[in-house]
């Protein structure tokens, strides 16, 4: 009898885990009434740094119409992730995707056939973007060149190669609430949208726990370099010690206030931020200076 009860419990737990780990796509009406603005889509594309990961290895990402053929490799403690083709090619890329397909990918980390994406695709930040952003982005992506290079499979070992487990990971990882909560000025709100959402700054600047989930208590307080060598600096106001002007100039030119320059992966980030509007760079600075001190 006890054996049957235990078996029933195990089955219930397994069924619960199966249900909880399922994909959580957007409601069907999530994009209703939104009209795409491809020009804003290009701003979203640059702010989100799409090209930095999705161009071919060694290709220049900071051009007007980069070829988003994928193939860059990203080492991590869980294995090697390989950026897929998101060019407008109908078979190799995402040329045949609907707006809803793209929105579910970016805002929910769910593929058109209902599988979870790995969070190397930083949807744990992008899910703070707006549906309007994504509709605009989709329109811009369709204007970009098509490339037939097939996407490669990630090189991920067991158990991380079971995508269904990512459903539970997503539930535990938290979000998509804004981290800097509450009413803020329009400029800080714009900066929050860029830093916490599209710009996905925290993906590198916030430490992670053993399961690779952001430690929201150490928001933007610095972290080990993901590739394993060196550290990504803290960018909280006390750790940085920079003025709004210093931050905006750094994002524009790559020069620190002492006229050192950005290095490592931040060089590619600057290639993107230097192409934002000066208002957006000022907004990022205003947001960073509005963060609580890290005490670090």
């Amino acid at each position: 009898m006890i054996r049957w009860i235990l078996a029933a419990c195990a089955l219930a737990v397994a069924a619960g885990a199966w249900v909880l780990s399922g994909p959580d796509p957007l409601p069907e009406d999530a994009l209703d009434g939104l009209v795409a603005d491809a020009a804003n889509g290009e701003r979203v594309f640059i702010a989100a740094g799409c090209a930095s990961c999705h161009v071919a290895p060694e290709a220049d990402a900071a051009v007007a119409a980069p070829v988003m053929s994928g193939g860059r490799r990203f080492e991590s403690q869980f294995g090697t992730f390989i950026a897929p083709n998101i060019s407008s090619h109908p078979d190799a890329g995402i040329g045949a995707w609907s707006d809803m397909d793209i929105a579910n990918a970016v805002l929910r980390g769910v593929s058109p056939d209902g599988a979870h994406y790995y969070p190397a695709f930083p949807y744990t930040s992008y899910f703070r973007a707006s549906a309007q952003d994504i509709v605009d982005l989709a329109a811009h992506l369709r204007t970009m060149p098509a490339d037939p290079t097939p996407s490669l499979d990630h090189e991920i070992g067991f158990p991380f190669n079971i995508r269904r487990t990512l459903g539970l990971w997503k539930l535990m990882a938290g979000g998509p609430e804004m981290v800097l909560a509450g009413d803020v000025s329009p400029e800080v709100a714009r900066g929050r949208h860029l830093v916490e959402g599209l710009g996905h700054c925290a993906e590198c600047h916030t430490p992670r726990n053993g399961l690779g989930m952001a430690d929201y208590d150490a928001w933007l307080a610095g972290a080990p370099e993901p590739a394993g060598d060196g550290r990504v600096p803290a960018i909280t106001p006390d750790a940085l010690g920079w003025t709004a002007f210093d931050i905006a100039q750094y994002l524009s030119t790559g020069f620190t206030p002492s006229f050192d320059t950005a290095g490592g992966d931040m060089v590619e980030v600057i290639e993107n931020t230097s192409r934002l509007s000066s208002e957006d760079r000022d907004a990022i600075a205003a947001y960073l200076l509005a963060l609580p001190r890290s005490g670090g």
Binding site: G222, E225, D229, G230, R231, V232, P233, A234, Q249, T253, G254, F255, S258, F259, D260, T261, A262, G263, G264, D265, M266, V267, E268, I270
Partner: protein
């Protein structure tokens, strides 16, 4: 008496050991690291003038801009072979973020040439007005960043 002699020998030995230890802290690799960091500081001090004017942190001054650009060119032309010593990379020597790949991937020469070209452009432009200076500083900064992207460890 013998005891005093023994003690003196021990003290002398101790001094000798201390001497070796202090020689180690002056080792050539540590000196090389210090020298190249000083060279970088000199780039930075001159970039602070040019970048400061470009960013509006200070007023444009053609003479000062030209002097800073000439300094950069002089620095870029100096041989740095005596302080980029093989084996003086991060992990092998304390206090450096220079990555070992500098000495192994063969790309550093092209980086140096790109920097020299950008600095030559700055030398032509710096005294010719603020707009010319602003146009010339982009390639200089991009060249700094290009090297730091691949060859310098990220820091805290």
């Amino acid at each position: 008496m013998t005891r005093i002699i023994r003690l003196s020998v021990l003290v002398a030995a101790g001094i000798a050991v201390a001497g070796i230890a202090s020689a180690q802290s002056n080792d050539p690799l540590a000196a090389a690291v210090k020298a190249r960091q000083s060279h970088m500081q000199l780039y930075s001090a001159n970039l602070a003038v040019l970048g400061g004017m470009a960013q509006g942190r200070m007023d444009y001054d053609a003479e000062a801009a030209q002097a800073a650009a000439d300094n950069l060119a002089a620095l870029a032309s100096m041989s740095q072979r005596f302080y980029w010593v093989p084996g003086s990379h991060a992990g092998a020597v304390e206090g450096t973020r220079a990555l070992e790949v500098i000495w192994t991937d063969g790309g550093i020469g092209a980086e140096a040439e790109a920097f020299s070209a950008a600095v030559a452009g700055m030398q032509d432009a710096a005294g010719g007005g603020l707009d010319a200076l602003r146009a010339a500083i982009g390639p200089v900064g991009a060249s700094c960043g290009s090297c730091h992207e691949n060859y310098r460890q990220s820091n805290n």
